[in-house]
Symmetry: C2
Subunit: 454 residues, 2 copies
């Protein structure tokens, strides 16, 4: 019998998170105060986050120990399996070996609980009663709902309205885990009311929902805020994925030549790729790490490297990032988790330093790849995840043309059980391309008056 899965035991759940900042040749630039535009220190984040997470956010330590309480919860689904995609390879008729690391086995169906559990734990340790957050497709919101329920913390989720309407089951899942979910923009915050005044039919965006959740936390001493991507500590928590994958690829016989992950804010990509990048930085390996983004929201491939806000209204610190501008509202594609204007600071610096690659895909290409994957491997991938699969299809075809048997590793970061309406729309021919023009990108970036990093 052929070997399909590469499994680790519970004892092999990583004991530490990997902080790539320690190994980066060029360290990330400091965040700036949104008003003064001067560099800020960790204390500026205290209204929003518990101190332990702020320490992690600015840490230069290479390894941060994972508390036993967090590892015990990880054990509900970790280590996750790594698969060889025999049937997908066969359908592509490629000499490449395709592997995927599957995070969809978590209770909420994606990699997001890896950081949600850690964040809920540190909030609980510091006596926080309530956590607010935003969510796009709902992957992050449901992960945090699950984590908060386990640690006895209230959870309040601002869900991008277009996703709230497209994915009612995500809301129900969050409710099942005891969270309160609102369609953003809401009338509950100044930020939401401001957006609604300008556009009562706003489909919302991650940037808007972040503004709402941040405002709630900033104005209520019992409430903290949690982010599901972008920030350094969030990316670091996700490195359990890649650490396991390194071991599993060694079990499978060889390290990957290419590691591919979808790209929203960076945590998904960081999670799988940073432990492989460590091998590049430490041992001189040449593993290509590719971030796959939607062509309707192409900050990595068509954005600029610049200080920008993390949210739409401009409440967060200014971060040095690849961005399309914080006012950019992407088309309402089904991959709601990728509809974010900017990239995390670390990933942006890595791209600037050419240590990673980026590629953009149209949603039709993504669903074609995702459907083929579902019909061969069995797992229906989330719309976000199909972006990485689309890149893998391109690379597998290149391998065929070049007659090369490269190892390709996909981060299969989530399943699409809650996103089947997207597949129905695709099968019915109701999806369209959402390419944006140079003029649209230029118009959005022209509104920025933020500093340009030196």
């Amino acid at each position: 019998m052929r070997e399909t899965k590469f499994l680790l035991t519970e004892k092999e759940i990583p004991t530490h998170w990997y902080n790539i900042v320690a190994d980066m040749p060029n360290k990330p630039l400091p965040p700036l105060h949104p008003a003064t535009r001067e560099p800020i220190g960790p204390e500026a984040l205290a209204p929003l986050f518990p101190m332990e997470l702020i320490k992690q956010e600015v840490s230069q330590e290479k390894w941060v120990e994972i508390p036993d309480e967090v590892r015990n919860v990880y054990a509900k689904w970790r280590p996750t399996p790594l698969y060889r995609a025999y049937d997908f390879e066969k359908a592509l008729d490629t000499p490449a070996k395709i592997y995927y690391k599957y995070e969809g086995v978590s209770p909420s169906g994606s990699h997001k609980p890896n950081t949600a559990v850690a964040q809920a734990y540190y909030n609980k340790m510091e006596g926080v009663k309530r956590i607010t957050t935003e969510t796009g497709a709902g992957q992050w919101g449901s992960a945090l709902s699950f984590a908060c329920q386990l640690f006895g913390i209230e959870c309040e989720v601002y869900m991008v309205k277009i996703s709230y309407e497209q994915k009612p089951y995500r809301k129900m899942l969050m409710n099942t885990w005891g969270a309160n979910v609102y369609a953003s923009p809401t009338n509950l915050t100044n930020a939401g009311r401001q957006i609604l005044a300008e556009d009562p039919d706003s489909p919302g965006s991650l940037g808007i929902a972040i503004s709402e959740a941040v405002e709630r936390a900033a104005t209520d001493p019992d409430t903290k805020y949690a982010l599901g991507s972008v920030l350094n500590h969030v990316l670091m928590h996700q490195t359990v994925v890649g650490q396991e994958a390194v071991k599993q690829m060694e079990m499978a016989g060889d390290l990957p030549d290419i590691v591919i992950a979808p790209f929203g804010g960076g945590s998904n990509f960081a999670g799988i790729s940073f432990p492989f990048l460590r091998l590049n930085l430490e041992e001189g390996k040449k593993i290509r790490c590719i971030a796959a983004e939607p062509s309707s929201c192409p900050k990595l491939t068509r954005g600029v490297f610049r200080y920008d806000f993390g949210d739409t209204v401009g409440m967060t610190p200014l971060l040095p990032m690849y961005t399309l501008g914080h006012n950019f509202v992407p088309a309402p594609i089904h991959a709601g988790g990728l509809r974010y204007h900017g990239a995390g600071v670390i990933v942006s610096q890595l791209l600037k330093d050419k240590l990673i690659e980026a590629r953009a895909h149209d949603q039709l290409e993504c669903f074609e790849a995702g459907l083929l994957f579902a019909r061969t491997e069995g797992i229906v991938p989330a719309p976000e995840t199909t972006h990485a699969i689309a890149t893998a299809v391109q690379e597998a075809k290149r391998c065929k043309e070049e007659g090369k048997s490269e190892n390709i590793l996909i981060h299969l970061c989530g399943h699409g059980y809650f996103d089947l309406k997207a597949y129905e729309d695709y099968l019915a021919g109701n999806l369209t391309k959402h390419e944006i023009t140079e003029e649209e990108i230029h118009a959005s970036l022209a509104k920025l008056d933020t500093p340009i990093p030196q």
Copy 2:
């Protein structure tokens, strides 16, 4: 760190299915021809099933080898994990140790692919072009859609109308895997038209959907039929679940005192319990095996042991089973997979011989137990699965009263990602009890004119 999961390697996927018939003290009685009411042989099933499955249906061999092609597909998700439910135990404040075998990791989210893959394989080997089937909640229909897609067979699913409406995502999942799905009763078959003539608003039932699917297969030489439960070969295919669980409970330290599974037609219950019953029958162990059924469809606890049809219209052979009568249409509870009037032949005989137990639960009790499970263990169980959890809660409370630390094993046969509307209804207080009266059961059974087994 505590040990949460007990995992087997891919090499430990069982090599054989276990056929409990070989070990039963009283063998099942023969099926009867629907018209002549005389015992029938295997040849009578030839229009509906491929010959290899018919051989398995009547086999007296204790072990049937699993083809490598089937084990290779099983490897996409098997062996499945067995968990210790620490957080659920803590919430129940019980000295009992509660374990669960989780089949929700399969591509379609339940145990059903264990037999769907085997059935699709044998149909493919015998050149079958198309398979028809029925489905209740959609677990079985989606499993067969997945299996048919892998083996290149067309799949046609008659889905009980009430579930079709309650669970639109299940239909989309089947479509994603390339199946055609119809809301049953349909106008496509004589059986469906007959039901609609009597009640144009019929919510459907598994019995009606079976009539439709069987009629299609019986009247088209290119088409065979597949059943997701009840029949002997289907139950046998599911024994991979219990064989793994026996090993995993030994890894966890001890065999269970009690094994609990939801009960629809029997395959779920058989899958986990038969390999434990084997230990009772062979080695004199005293493991209690409890089938948990809905109080709105209580064939095991309030039905009669009698020859009855497997479908509503009366096209199938007569089987000796615990039944509420083949005209019984259960209330439209959310656990659509348990809305079936009869129990499989083997399970019925085992219950008659007092080798297993049965218990009925109201849906409110089930969702209360299921919600507690979701909020402690993280996995949202399917409505069917909550019935087993409700029994486990009762047994855990008894253990507390009696001060006993028994080992309880739950068959967590499927997740509830597609059933969240049910949880929403429960949380909103919109679900009601569906107890049925003695008069209703009596009225349904009074219509039977079928033979009473001696």
